[in-house]
Amino acid sequence: MGIEERRSITIYVFGKKYEVPESLTIQKAMEFSGYRFIRSCGCRGGICGACLTEYRTPGSYRLKVALACQALAEPEMQITQSPFVPMNRAPYHLEELKEQPDILGKIYPEIYRCLQCNTCTRVCPMEIQVMDYVAAAMRGEIEKAATLSFQCIMCGACASKCPAEISQPNVALLARRLYGRHILPLPESLYQRINDIKMGRYNKVLENLIQMSTEGLMKFYTLREQEPQDNPGWVPKNPNFPEDIT
């Protein structure tokens, strides 16, 4: 069945009635209705959090939350959008913070007001266990709060509905930054490589490559050894290539 033969459905955008073809996303249904978005539209791929949308459908008391670019318009759907959710962001400088168990609670003490109602988890369009990461934050489990919240797109659905007035996305962001900076290790070899570059170890080879003719480059390009897909102990036959250019 082509788009042309789609049947029409009725939707209500901010209470106003429109007829649109079925099986469009809410975003496209609104565009079909004549909306040229400034707000409530971003990546159109479910990762930017711009198109947070609330709706009700007939026969249900439930107020549902979705991303307009990812959810389909349904018959008789009543739609409203929240392009911006005010959130509390505490002032801090990450490099001055230490990885201590109560750090999240010190910076965002409102997390202790959590009522464990689980509304945050229920409304999350990314299906994140929001209440669980807030609980982890309260217990000082930075790693758990960081990994549980990793898929947060910061749309603010949780923060807009929280009876304890917690701004969950900002708590989660701080947990992830602390985890990334303080808990995940960086290998010594990275610092070694940065130092090697600073000390000019690759200057000569790069200078040679920069000066090289296209034909010369093509030759060296074809001489590269390909690291294989599956061979953990692989060592190139010539580990000094192309530094040994003469």
Binding site: C48, L94, Y202
Partner: protein, 542 residues
């Protein structure tokens, strides 16, 4: 239960039937000569009538895609006589136009130098192609890797036409940028023993792509945004620049803006300006769908071209081989190259491979177009989309059950929402417009051919030659964002702002008129795509 229509089931069964044998097959890579031939016959860049020569301005004689030429030949939404330069809203040391990764990193480094810095952005701060980057960021930090191998890979990917001094900057800064991001708190993936996990992208001789699952760009951007807030850097959202302003010496001296909510126009004067406005995906070059953000409408290119900035490689467009071809609601959206890096294969409708999956993007896309259009080995959907299979279940087979949910949680979720389990069923893909390989010509400090005007990220060109490698874009925006931010802040200490003017705009439009190509019906910059009414049904965008 399958998430695909009945008519594609037979083809899916063929993919399943060949999976185990294919998994062990080596598919040879093409020689440089074979690559050239494939590109010339099948890459959209080489299609007759897809691009045309510019007839006016500093870039007269350059070829660009028709859709961009139309904007270059359109009339400015700014009428010079209506701009009052006696009413300047603010004076800045460093004015940054664009709020993606390039703009944010430029701001952080400019502000660190003590410069009075402002980020202006068309949509929300962070709205950009940066957040949509799934695969990761290249940095040669492995034991058997080096900046020089990264250099060779990048040059080969770009057709050996990349500007060497820019590539040198890119590969030499990469490890330092990776460390800087990790120190800001970006959760890069780690190996079991705590090392940095790296995977392949096409055209790489070593594993060099560092990821944060398939959220890499979003993870970096949300961290960077938070850091910009921490530093107290001023941000003006929903205020796109609509013209650049030059002084009496032809140096950049600020920009004219519009507030999209109130439609107020205002001028910001600045000692230096950094353009970080991103790409052109939403122009839908040659009718292709795109992976790009809603805001990718070439605004920066348009105003810079009018101001007299030279462009390079603007006729080279990147089509990503694995854009979503089904379901229609996800049309054109990116399916990360990392899938192929993690051993997923490209398979035609008959269950056979047709290209080494780790060829560069231009090659892989051309081979897919050949497979579907020429060899008629594609798969058709009931609404007329065509594609080939990306055999994602192979990842689970080769790398262990659970790998997809661990490495690709976002893509898993996105397809799951539409009833497709990519751990069990392949993904239907077709090339999609992904990136502008060229852009505004810059030097290794990000400065354009107009003094005091810098550019960083996708809007700039030269470093990627005619085809960018996967993982080099997230790198490029921070390497050149940083360099431009530092250099602009230093420059700002030395100079006085001149007398602002839009004389260049008057001259450029006269030039268009003389050449007989001024298109008054096209108003530019475009700012927002128009997908209203029937256009919402077009099969070119999700």
């Amino acid at each position: 239960m399958s998430g695909y229509p009945e008519s594609t089931q037979e083809s899916i069964r063929k993919v399943e039937a060949t999976r185990l044998t294919r998994a062990k097959e080596e598919f040879p890579k093409l020689s440089l000569k074979e690559r050239q031939e494939l590109l010339k016959r099948y890459h959209p860049d080489y299609r007759e009538g897809g691009r045309r020569e510019l007839k006016a301005g500093v870039n007269k004689g350059e070829k660009v895609p028709n859709e961009l030429a139309d904007l270059f030949e359109g009339e400015s939404i700014v009428r010079p006589e209506e701009v009052d330069f006696t009413q300047v809203k603010e004076d800045m040391d460093v004015l940054i136009i664009g709020g993606g990764g390039g703009g944010a990193s430029a701001a952080l480094f400019a502000a660190e130098q003590g410069a009075k810095t402002l980020i202006t952005t068309k949509l929300r701060f962070g709205d950009s192609n940066t957040i949509m980057a799934e695969g990761g960021i290249q940095a040669a930090v492995g034991e058997f890797d080096s900046p020089s191998l990264h250099y060779l890979d990048t040059m080969g990917g770009g057709g050996f036409e990349n500007l060497p001094h820019l590539v040198n900057a890119l590969v030499s800064d990469a490890p330092m940028i990776l460390e800087w991001l990790a120190r800001l708190g970006v959760m890069f993936d780690r190996t079991d023993d705590g090392g940095l996990l790296a995977s392949f992208a096409g055209g790489q001789c070593r594993r060099r792509v560092h990821s944060a699952a398939d959220y890499t760009g979003m993870e970096i951007m949300r961290v960077m945004r938070d850091e910009v807030y921490s530093r107290g850097i001023e941000i003006d959202e929903f205020c796109p620049a609509i013209e650049l302003v030059l002084d009496e010496k032809g140096r950049c001296a600020g920009a004219v803006f519009v507030n999209l909510d109130t439609e107020e126009r205002f001028v910001i004067r600045a000692k230096t300006v950094i353009l970080a406005t991103g790409g052109i995906g939403r122009l839908h070059i040659q009718g292709f769908p795109t992976t790009n953000h809603y805001g990718a409408t070439a605004d920066g290119l348009v105003i810079a071209n009018r101001a007299g900035v030279k462009i390079i490689f603007m006729d080279a467009i990147q089509f990503h081989p694995t854009g979503t071809a089904y379901p229609e609601q996800l049309l054109g959206l990116l399916v990360s190259e990392a899938f192929r890096g993690w051993s997923a294969q490209l398979v035609n409708g008959e269950g056979g491979r047709f290209i080494n999956e780790l060829e560069t993007r231009d090659i892989t896309s051309s081979a897919t177009i050949r497979e579907v259009m020429d060899r008629k080995n594609g798969v058709s959907t009931p609404t007329g989309m065509q594609g080939v299979w990306l055999d994602t279940p192979l990842v689970e087979l080769n790398k262990g059950k659970g790998t997809i949910r661990r490495i690709f949680p976002h893509l898993f979720h996105r397809f799951h929402t539409f009833g497709i389990e990519i751990t069990q069923e392949p993904v239907l893909v077709y090339p999609t417009q992904h990136y502008q390989n060229g852009g505004l010509l810059i030097d290794e400090y990000g400065e354009t051919t107009i003094e005091n005007l810098f550019a960083a990220g996708e809007v700039s060109g030269g470093v990627h030659g005619r085809n960018r490698l996967g993982g080099n874009s997230l790198l490029d925006i921070f390497v050149f964002g940083r360099r431009a931010g530092i250099r602009a802040a230093e420059r700002a200490k030395e100079i006085e702002i001149g007398k602002p003017s839009l004389g260049h705009l008057i001259e450029y439009e006269k030039d268009l008129e003389r050449a007989g190509v001024l298109k008054k019906e096209i108003k530019t910059p475009l700012l927002l795509p128009d997908y209203r009414y029937e256009k919402a049904l077009a099969k070119i965008h999700q």
